[in-house]
Symmetry: C3
Subunit: 372 residues, 3 copies
């Protein structure tokens, strides 16, 4: 179902990926698990190894999720995908949540939104544009994502707007509000699914590529892989979260940069491979669907779920209050995406522009001295 | 004239309203006036009664205004409508102005802009969308309103941008600037009328519904009703304004929430009835015209007029300086309206999205602890 | 090449300008140079004289630049134009840079962006609209400019967003970041040239007016004029920069107002003459190209070059950190331009709206008391 594809970020890993080099990186998984036990203080090494190990696991997770979703029909598949689509991000963030590293969690949520909206989308437009003079895609899908991202941005802005007028009010009231907003965002996401998959699916159907996507695995293998890989990602994420702050210091990176850029890129690695390959095949609807769909999912589903989860597994509840710079970046990224995609056409320069804007953010965060 | 309709918010109350239950609420008007004399300390009771009494009065006022406007021809009718269209809001706000409750006045102006832009428009799209699969409307009208709202937003942002850099400068300079900006906004509104009613009226003409609107009353009855009802609204408004703050405490609502949400909804009740009914009849041009036209009128006419009036009837002059959160909400509401209406098409989800965004604001204001 | 015209702001001075009254103002150039020597303390007189002297010099400079660019072919001509197009602004700003008046430099950069985007564009729409009922222009060009301005705006916002979270960090880090961002903006500008002049020039070609533009001067005369006039502008600019602050006090204007409005209008006088005349001839592509092209050039080329130049000629390096109000104005101006030009159509009211928004900014800055 191509509507499902564009909205739900069902990123069918192309056959080649399965027989290819990325999966050789799986060999690093046992290495990192053993290394973490033997040399828990080698933060930089563990950081590098865990990043390399997460990439193939993310690819497997992504493909297994999609195979399961394919078997269960649209409606259930939609929900499954909504739950599992950004599983890598969710598992990494849960590990950070458990460790009480709320700064890293928030940074990675906001970073994933900005990275997917600007970098992934921009690279798709650039790579596609270097091959094709002008490419077209379904505007309606992009508008839906932009609208949902606008809702999420406004929900992020609201508590900060309160905090400015009422710094005294403190955590309790922010907490209550964050919980309500989280429920509201999940509701918005659900309505978006209903709209694009059920009531108005014909609007979001991609035009040309009704072609079969990769058939996927049998349900048993898919479910088995899903279970095993989720456990492995959880184990490796824990090592990643423990090592990332120390490693960041060694590399001279601020924690904001790490959360925003490094974690976001690692978490989205598998999706990017699929989105880029689709752009090179002139299937820009799929690329836009993965890039903006993933940003939407994180903003309206993963983020809110983390807020709710924090009541159960975190040391204290987490709120939706972000530092003002983060809110500004999400707002600007949403605005840029809404502006750029309103035409439904792209060329290489559009991609270059998005990547330049992303670079402005990345540079700013890189230069930003670590807050101590 | 349907162009006048869409721009000037001439909300012809449908016949059914006149013979219907809403007008039974008129019986409450004497009750509230007597109760205010006998039990001036029963704030909660007076608040509830005055809200219930304002609704049918607003409906009558709205219809009388329109009947007068219809008789006077387009140009004069346009000016009359501009002056009388949001008379309920104007009378309530004048009562608050007289009482020196500038916080409530400003809250209700900003609240009316946000409520009309997000809630009224959203509910129209949602109600229409539940009946029709996709609805279309004239983009040009929506663009004009969005442009005017952008002007108003920028005029609201400017004094705050000064205040940030120069808090020492103080009230005198803000006052002078506010007065100049108020005149500028009224000028902008006048030019907008000239553009949409005279020089380029063909662009704003609704396509399909050239049908007759409800004929309205004879001019004598209309003018009489106008005079009597205005006095009644003024009397009830005074009770409303006196009781609202105490009642808010009893209900656990912050003053910001009361100004923003309760007063805005009460003031726009009659218009909403007409706009919703038009949406259910697939006359979305009229709905959009009422919702955005009303927001524009309040932002560029009612608000500025209140600033000028404050020099004559208020204890001290009122400025256009709003608390930052209010400015942010007006800005975001305008941005959302410009984005959402740029396509000229709607479906149920568009309405749901607007209402969700409105709910984010309402929630935030509800949770916001009262500033003391 | 009309694509070059619209993007590169090649403002062919119409023949009438060369034989006309403006050039009589050249007689003031020697007067101001002598007056500055004899009466260096007559600030108000020197200010008025230097403004009057810069206008004809800017017109000559503009025409000479274009004549040179025409002779050298598209690619080289593009680069030349990028370097020389806003030479007046560059020379004035360099004089201020040399004097260490960074507040004036920044004010004039931001002012030129806002003035060109709102006032010049608005006046073109208004003047054209008073003659023609509805005018059309190439949307693609306007979108390109809006996209580039968005990039520049985001680059201006970013250091401020840092400063908010980390005021302690201080100048060194802001400096480093500003330099990186300056290089990034110049890169973005270069890619924009490549896109609109080489790879996708057909998208930006104006439709109707393939007509010849004014032939221009022989290369020798053009180069000679360029050299002499640049020296004269530099000399007069020095007097202007020295007198402007004192004269501002005499006129009761804040330094922000002078930088933003007066310097911006003086610097762009010649371009405005061309843009307005084109609008009156229904050549709106050229008008939009000059107005938005000039804003883009200043934001992505002149401004960044000034930052880099400050390392060589200023007392200390200049950063890209603007006061928050300036950033807000650039952001809003960009947003308004993106919104207004998205339709590719204009009428008088669109121009009036832009000018009203500009007036809001000008009023605010005029009322803003000088920071001491």
């Amino acid at each position: 179902m191509s509507a499902a594809h564009s909205f739900l970020n069902v990123n069918g890993l192309p056959k080649e990926l399965r027989h290819n080099r990325v999966l050789w990186l799986l060999a690093i998984v046992p290495v990192v698990l053993i290394a973490a036990r033997l040399k828990p203080e080698a933060h930089t090494l563990l950081f590098v190894l865990s990043v390399l190990a997460i990439i193939p696991l993310a690819a497997l997770l992504s493909h297994a999720t999609e195979s399961v979703a394919e078997k269960t029909g649209d409606a259930v598949g939609g929900l499954l995908n909504a739950t599992l689509g950004n599983l890598t991000e969710l598992v990494i963030a849960t590990a950070a949540l458990h460790a009480g590293q709320y700064c890293l969690v928030k940074g990675s949520v906001v970073g994933a939104i900005v990275t997917n909206t600007l970098f992934m989308l921009g690279a798709c437009f650039l790579l596609g544009g270097l091959k094709y003079h002008v490419q077209e895609y379904n505007r309606a899908g992009a508008r839906l994502y932009a609208g949902l991202l606008l809702l999420a941005t406004i929900a992020l802005v609201s508590p900060s707007a309160i905090a400015k007028t009422d710094l005294v009010a403190g955590a309790a009231v922010t907490q209550k509000l964050s919980l309500c907003l989280a429920v509201l965002l999940i509701l918005g996401y659900g309505l978006g699914l209903l709209f694009s998959l059920k009531t108005h699916r014909e609007i979001f159907a991609g035009t040309e590529h009704a072609e079969k996507s990769d058939p996927g695995w049998p349900i048993g293998i898919a479910l088995g892989t899903l279970a095993i890989v989720t456990v492995l990602v959880a184990l490796v994420s824990e090592i990643f979260v423990e090592s990332v702050q120390e490693a960041a210091k060694a590399f001279g990176m601020s924690p904001a940069f790490v959360g925003f850029i490094v974690v976001a890129l690692v978490g989205a690695a598998a999706e990017m491979a699929v989105a880029f390959s689709a752009a090179r095949k002139d299937r820009l609807d799929l690329s836009v669907g993965i890039a903006l769909g993933s940003a939407t999912q994180i903003a309206l589903f993963v983020g809110p779920v983390l807020v709710i989860l924090s009541y159960f597994i975190g040391p204290t509840p987490m709120d939706l209050q972000f530092w003002p710079g983060a809110v500004v970046m999400v707002f600007l990224a949403t605005l840029v995406a809404a502006f750029i995609t309103s035409g439904g056409r792209s060329a290489w320069f559009v991609g270059a522009l998005l990547i330049l804007i992303y670079t402005v953010f990345a540079l700013t965060l890189y230069v930003l001295p670590p807050r101590t």
